[in-house]
Subunit: 296 residues, 2 copies
Amino acid sequence: MTELRHLRYFIAVAEELHFGRAAQRLNIAQPGLSQQIKALETELGVPLLMRTRRRVELTAAGQVFLEEGRRALAQVERAEKLARRAASGEIGRLTIGGTEAATWVVLPQLVREFRKRHPNVDLAIREMPSPAQMSALRNAEIDIGFVRPPLGTEGLVVRTVLEEKLGVILPRSHPLARRAEIPIIALRNEPLVVHPARPSGWAEFMSSICRSAGFEPRVAQEASETATAVSFVAAGLGLTIVPVSLKGLVRPGLVYRPVAKPAPTAKLLLVYRSGVVPPTVAKLLEVVRELWPELT
Amino acid sequence: MTELRHLRYFIAVAEELHFGRAAQRLNIAQPGLSQQIKALETELGVPLLMRTRRRVELTAAGQVFLEEGRRALAQVERAEKLARRAASGEIGRLTIGGTEAATWVVLPQLVREFRKRHPNVDLAIREMPSPAQMSALRNAEIDIGFVRPPLGTEGLVVRTVLEEKLGVILPRSHPLARRAEIPIIALRNEPLVVHPARPSGWAEFMSSICRSAGFEPRVAQEASETATAVSFVAAGLGLTIVPVSLKGLVRPGLVYRPVAKPAPTAKLLLVYRSGVVPPTVAKLLEVVRELWPELT
DNA sequence: CCGTGTAAGAAGCGCGAGTTATCATTGTCG
DNA sequence: CGACAATGATAACTCGCGCTTCTTACACGG
């Protein structure tokens, strides 16, 4: 069975056209080299070298084998190099999940910086609600998620990235729009637009804010995306609460008003599978740590 | 040092994701396989497999190494295959030298047939006079030559391919043009166009024909190519003798007349280096043998 | 909690890669 | 022309390491 040793030896002989010098270069004795070359020729069933007692030269087959063998050796080295680079996180694949809000605030900077540092990592982003991210993480569909609490954390590592203030999006003509800040309790009898249409952390979170302010929210309309929810607000169906990062969703006729203190905050969490951390994930965590120094 | 064994073993494990089955497939026992894989990982300085006592899976580096390693192994096989094919003459390079006449008669059919049978042989043709071919052969600039006698044959194998009749090319208005055949002796006082401008077997041959007919040729003009010689004939500078294969060189105003019997003939010889016959040369000789059955 | 499956560890063996010593051939030089 | 140098092949040996068998250490399922 052909081994790389055979290739290395043959290439040395083919380059030196001299068994003695080739053996010296390979740090072995000449007879062993002769034996191995002969073994290679027997394996191939083809002479690679013309030995004319005094001079060594390549046969046609030898010339071809030299060229192709060099290529094979280079490919092995390439495999080794790429494996090492993959292990150090320089290349590879990384799929990130993010909520709607995350695609507005953290992901743009994060992706830009990460791409700059690790251009050979194939980066994919999937927008999905927090609960979906949790199962996607466990199924290894995504490697890192940016989610809203609460969440089940077994088997996962969690880290707070942002702690955002909240605000209300409402029509400019709405009475509450005249206030600079809006206390949660003022929403007591207002129709709210939420989006529990698919399992969403934010809908849950909105409800809990209202409940801790002492009232049960009055759900006027359900939407699947916050962007859709804002459309319904624009249509006059009610108000909605958003994290400040989604302030940019306001449209003509709508206004954003921060929630008055004492205001609850919405955390944005980074989660990934515990255990062995793949190098690409480690590289990304490093970038996150620099861009958003640890909270707590 | 990484060996192909390591690649083969790793690929087996990566495909089976099971040391026991992989070992079975490789016809070795499992512990040896574990040892070799570990040696490979140590060599690379990188873990390729995640062993969780119960399950084996690839790390990111392992996935990369699997893919690149497969490619490396394929390249080795490719090298082996190509070397074997080169030895059997299926691929390779072959340079053929030919006189002007050869490019008219033997080479067209020969090249067409050879290309059809051995499309992967890189075939080059170089038109050159016989003496130049002889030295080109010895310098290994060409592998096979088609030449005119006489020649020094030491170190070469010679074989007659064609034995051609001769003819005279002359202006239609020339008195001799009225004859159907022309005896050599009739050229006694005619001005002849020859081409000794560069060492050429044909010029030599023409002179010897005249001498054996009993007269010294009257050289009117020298030319470097037979085609040029014919131009001079067209210009009215004299006559020239050509092998029948170059009959096609006649132009408007010129005619070709065979030399009358008893007519000398011009042999076209095939020559190649004696000793070990490269496979591509052997393949070509085979085609020649079929197209032009041996002349004694 | 034990039986089964699975990989790693320990220890020994045997092949073969590499070693030294020697030969055979051939080109070179006095 | 004979002695010598150069060079690759051959012979015989040895020692490392690749592979073996035997065993251990877990992890999971019933």
